[in-house]
Amino acid sequence: MNAESLGPEVSSISSAAPPIAAAKAGLRRPSPEGRSQFRFRRTAFLLIVTPILFTAAVAAIVAGSTHVDWGVALHVIGAKVFPFWIGHEGIEKADDVIIWLIRTPRVIVAGLVGAGLAIAGALMQGLFRNPLAESNTVGVGSGAVLGAMIVFSTGLAAKSAIALPIAAFIGALLALITVYALATRGGVTPVSMLLLTGIALSALLISISSLLLTLSVANWEVAEEMIFWMSGGLDKRTWTHVWICAPFILFAFVASLYYARDLDLMSQGEDTASALGVEVESTKRAIIVISALITGSAIAVAGAVGFVGLVVPHIVRLFVGPSHRSLLPSSAVAGAAFVIICDLLARTIHPPTEIRLGVITAAFGAPFFLFLLVRKYRELDV
């Protein structure tokens, strides 16, 4: 059934204006050239941030304890990606190992994690109609960390590389479903209730993770791995880690674009979305699963990297506007650039010691979060 099948008069009745509105319309017609205020800024943002992403990626590959010339770095990568066009002659074994086996996978994992967490944050903020929401805020991150902790403590992580992302994903999904179920009454899920429930469940899950860590201290190798996950970091990342997270995050990115228009409507309330034609419940479930998939995969390879999902979409929204068709890809590019730069800083600020990635992202993210809170309070005149 469609509007046309209901009767021919539907299109004709819509163009005629009633007398009062028509009289005013003569004075108040929209300007024909008046389009979205964000159109120019969307293009400008991508034109600026995309080169920053590639520059940061190249800088992260050449910089480090052993400096490698950027020409050599590009030669190594070119020879690996296009072996039939670019020869391998003249590349030293050490450069090959540093560039291709150590730094390139690390940069790619950083980009994937940054893009993924930023997308997950944008999804959560749109779904919950709250610019301050992110996947960690509603307990997903803590669930993923606990999933990883269980796999470490039971020894499954040592037996199968795929066990870790699967456990992190299941942990993320279970945490989000639990928070959602606890916060929902009579089909209504108030945002404040959702966030408070998320904070409470997060605290519980973190305490269980801490308990598992405490019980594992006797086996220091396992405990060290656990501490790594809990503070977030990208050291010793290999191509295996790229293959672990890339399929999930890339699939989730494409899936999130599929729901971009639905999210625009969901961000105005479920009643509105439903009235305008969105299948609300199935869309909500899909977005939650996508977000948990991304967060679980990102945490599986990088540990708990905080504030990316909160800060990046918020800044990007200021430039490109709230439409998810622009917000999601722009957040992905900006998130990737942000985490690559943070990881570069983590490696190079205090050599030879590496600062944990989660420390750097929080050092940028926490002050910005406070800034957002203060600005919000000022807007509300509290």
Partner: protein, 271 residues
């Protein structure tokens, strides 16, 4: 006779409480139905149920004779537009973007906006008298302006059934009259319109039929004069009412508190 949109003995229960019970209402093309009743009587719930947003716990809602539950939401949205009581506009969309969202169900998921979509949005902006606000952010608008944005979005759907939940609640007198007149015009053009409202005199003036609700139950449905009687008003609103004039058969109601003069004097004397 069954209407374009019909509810048959519908009931809605939320959190172990019946919000609506045994409501049967028909909405006809070319007419305005005003849903009136005191706070908490179930007006908004009834409209949400008629829009298919809240499924009925019992009874059924039919659109053109088909059970609403069997029709995909996108198909319902092409036939029926719903304006919520409150705008949840947290993000900085422009007015034009919000109004264009009324075309969601008409476009494919990845299709670009067509000329028809653009024209529908522009017409809606003009009809709701917000064309001059088209490029403003909705977060910068007043409550009344936001309400008109939601009305424009519903007009952009070009659907033949409109359900408006207290559309005049936050509007000034001028725009309140404009919206009621707009509803009347839309009905005269052939659409079916339902408005939940507290404005009983507005209902008398602009609606063809009135549905009076009290505590989730239907007190009566029919012409304003037959439903908004002093006894029905006293039962539902606990106020006395009288018709002070009647122009062209349109009654004008005046209300008094349900406290007689002697009891008021006693109260004042006692203090």
């Amino acid at each position: 006779m069954k209407g374009t949109l019909s509810t048959t003995a519908i009931g809605i229960r939320r959190a172990s409480r019946w919000i609506l019970q045994d409501c049967g209402i028909d909405l006809f093309q070319g007419s305005v139905l005003a849903v009136v009743g005191p706070n908490g009587s179930g007006k908004s719930t009834l409209l949400r149920c008629m829009a298919g947003i809240w499924p009925a716990t019992e009874g059924r809602v039919t659109l053109e004779g088909r059970d609403m539950r069997d029709i995909p939401r996108s198909h319902v949205a092409r036939s029926l537009a719903y304006v919520p009581q409150e705008a949840k506009l947290e993000f900085e969309f422009t007015v034009r973007e919000i109004v264009a969202m009324g075309r969601y169900a008409h476009r494919g998921r990845f299709n670009r906006e067509t000329e028809e979509d653009r024209q529908a949005a522009e017409d809606a902006l003009v009809r709701a008298d917000i064309a001059h606000l088209a490029d403003r952010f909705v977060t910068q608008l007043s409550g009344g302006e936001r309400q008109r944005v939601l009305i424009a979005r519903s007009l952009a759907t070009r659907s033949r059934i409109l359900l408006l939940d207290e559309p005049t609640a936050s509007l000034d007198v001028e725009h309140s009259l404009d919206v009621l007149q707009l509803c009347r015009s839309l009905a005269d053009e052939g659409r079916a319109v339902a408005i939940a409202t507290h404005d009983l005199n507005g209902a008398c003036r602009f609606a063809d039929r009135v549905a009076l609700l009290d505590a989730g139950r239907l007190v009566g449905v029919g012409s304003p004069a037959s439903v908004l009687t002093p006894s029905n008003i006293e039962r539902a609103f606990h106020v006395r009412s009288e018709v002070v004039s009647s122009v062209n058969g349109v009654p004008f109601l005046v209300f008094h508190q349900l406290v007689n003069d002697s009891s008021l004097s006693q109260f004042l004397g006692g203090s």
